[in-house]
Symmetry: C2
Subunit: 356 residues, 2 copies
């Protein structure tokens, strides 16, 4: 019978993104309507007078979410929002989603109603139509796959690869909060597991936990760009952390960048908690992930337009590729920024190799 | 912590399609571009001068495929083809897919290369561009989610709901073969499990096993409709079995139908094997599933055009809803056709509730 269990080369040898590159290297795109395939936040399809952008995410119980501390309504909401985030990151407006679900018989109708209540809330909040999906049983756990479809134009679309030296690096909101939220939830889980009688103590941690369990996507930013008639030279959503996602922009744009530590926005609760957990706050902001803020670059000429953009922070600048990707610390030092979480592909790992 | 494990109402109470209807009953579609949401083979999005159709499928190891007898290359091929089948069933041309994968560390790079070789073959055969996806780890097993995107026009699109009394019921090829292929593979698996020394005996069963492991989608039929400038009044792909899929057409068109037993096409190997397994051949054709032939209805005026369609079989007629859904047996009797496999949602069950 078939030999699918052979353990010749481990996927860890190639790393997450190396694996995708390796497996898809023979694939070419042949249909004239395909403008962009693998390699950005979303694929791009030419519809004549406009573009369709398509993004898809898979969320696996035990890898991306933990049922111990993830209310199903929040899970439903977040699973939609993280996909919409990829569409907004193309400077496009999401309009439809398909929602597929594999569930074991552990889940009751009541549990699924909670999940769908969250999906419903997200669809209402972002004006999205649920247009299809596939619901099936699973031998174990829950797996979610969401595909989002959005619309934009050739003039508006923002890729990862358009940043140029001299461009200003911007982010739509504070970073590291979701990561600290996750640390809080994991800590309370461990306490609960060792003593189920103790009630979780989430006092004053509403903000960071909210950022983890119920993130929002960059709708307001895209609407602002449209209103002031400008577009970013490059854009990506921060799902893996500022460092990792900045690397994507730099690699695909063929540029370097520097980030000024003192300008990286952090919520006071994030900073306080980071110190409480003996973590360096800037490390949480750089490598935390799951914040779903938009990281984008603008040409200097658009600076006046972005200055008054609500919630935006200017955190650095694009430089020559040969100058690297650097952090200018508040202490006056310059460090290399390393993209963490790239070369792991363990079953325990909560990072995924995202192709678009 | 959260109460997602409560077992209040079991999903089996509602049945597969009942569950989807129940969970999505509050959802409405609000974007003007959304023409059709849940309820057909694919969702339909208005692009101005043409339509985009989108379909998605989720395939779970241990539910939809068994690694004991499914070569990964075949799995890659089939996972693409079953999605394209849904696009063809809308009388549309598939152009792009996204491919998402959750895999445990049991799978080596070599195993994934095999899977992607199959995906590559399917993309080449059907002229499809792989434009994205998401690859992540899984605590256990493999889950695949494929989304296919196709193109058609308002004039050409074929829904499930357009059949009218007097229309002729047609199918693009023989039925029941994939089901017998599955029976063969399951039998050999049991023999292998009880005595791994015995080599599988698949002599003369190439055809049925091929239909199970490497099905093809209805590209030729859609090209023929285009060539002779006609469109079916309704269409669906046969994934759950002729009976179940005919029920979808009848329900959504508000009609009844009769099928003439003697006209239902079966391959000689299917009939021989059915008898060997003590199964009624017509039952295999009606309820077998996974054949991925297209079931469609045509107006009587188009009969001349369809008569010369390669591989097509005229198997019955659409009648009034009040006359029911009937089988006219070769013995001259009339039986009700029952749609089997609708009301199960067990983890062991290899049927899924497909929303589009």
């Amino acid at each position: 019978m078939t030999d699918s269990f052979s353990n010749k080369r481990d996927v860890n040898e190639l790393g997450e993104f190396g694996l995708i590159d390796h497996l898809t290297k023979e694939f070419t795109t042949n249909n004239p309507s395909t403008i962009l395939g693998i390699g950005d936040d979303a694929a791009v399809i030419d519809q004549g007078d406009h573009l369709t952008v398509i993004s898809t995410d898979m969320l696996v119980e035990g890898i991306h979410f933990d049922m111990m501390y993830t209310p199903l309504k929040h899970l439903g909401y977040k699973s939609v929002v993280v996909n919409l985030s990829d569409i907004y990151a193309m400077n496009a407006v999401p309009e439809q989603i398909t929602y597929s679900l594999a569930i074991s018989n552990r889940f009751s109708v009541d549990a699924l109603e909670e999940l769908y209540a969250g999906i419903f809330e997200a669809c209402k909040m972002y004006n999205i139509d649920l247009v299809g999906g596939d619901t099936t049983s699973s031998p174990k756990g829950m797996t979610i796959s969401v595909t989002a479809v959005g619309k934009t134009t050739k003039e508006k679309i923002a890729y990862r690869g358009g940043a140029k030296p001299g461009d200003i690096l911007c982010v739509t909101g504070n970073l590291g909060a979701a990561y600290l939220g996750l640390q809080m939830l994991e800590r309370e889980k461990q306490i609960y597991l060792s003593n189920p009688g103790i009630q979780p103590d989430f006092e004053n941690q509403d903000y960071v936990i909210g950022r983890m369990l119920k993130p929002e996507a960059g709708k307001a930013a895209i609407e602002y760009f449209d209103k002031v008639n400008m577009k970013p030279t490059s854009m990506i959503d921060i799902s893996d952390g500022l460092a990792s996602d900045l690397f994507h922009i730099c690699k695909q744009s063929g540029v370097g960048a520097y980030v000024e530590e003192g300008k990286v926005p952090m919520h006071p609760d994030t900073e306080t908690l980071a110190l409480k957990f003996n973590l360096d706050p800037i490390t949480c902001a750089l490598n935390g992930g799951e914040d779903y803020e938009l990281l984008f670059t603008i040409a200097e000429k658009d600076l006046e337009k972005v200055k008054f953009m609500p919630g935006v922070f200017l955190i650095g600048e694009i430089i020559q590729a040969s100058d690297g990707i650097k952090l200018h610390t508040t202490g006056g030092n310059i460090h290399d920024i390393k993209a963490q979480g790239w070369n792991h592909f363990d079953a325990d790992e909560d990072k995924a190799a995202k192709q678009n």
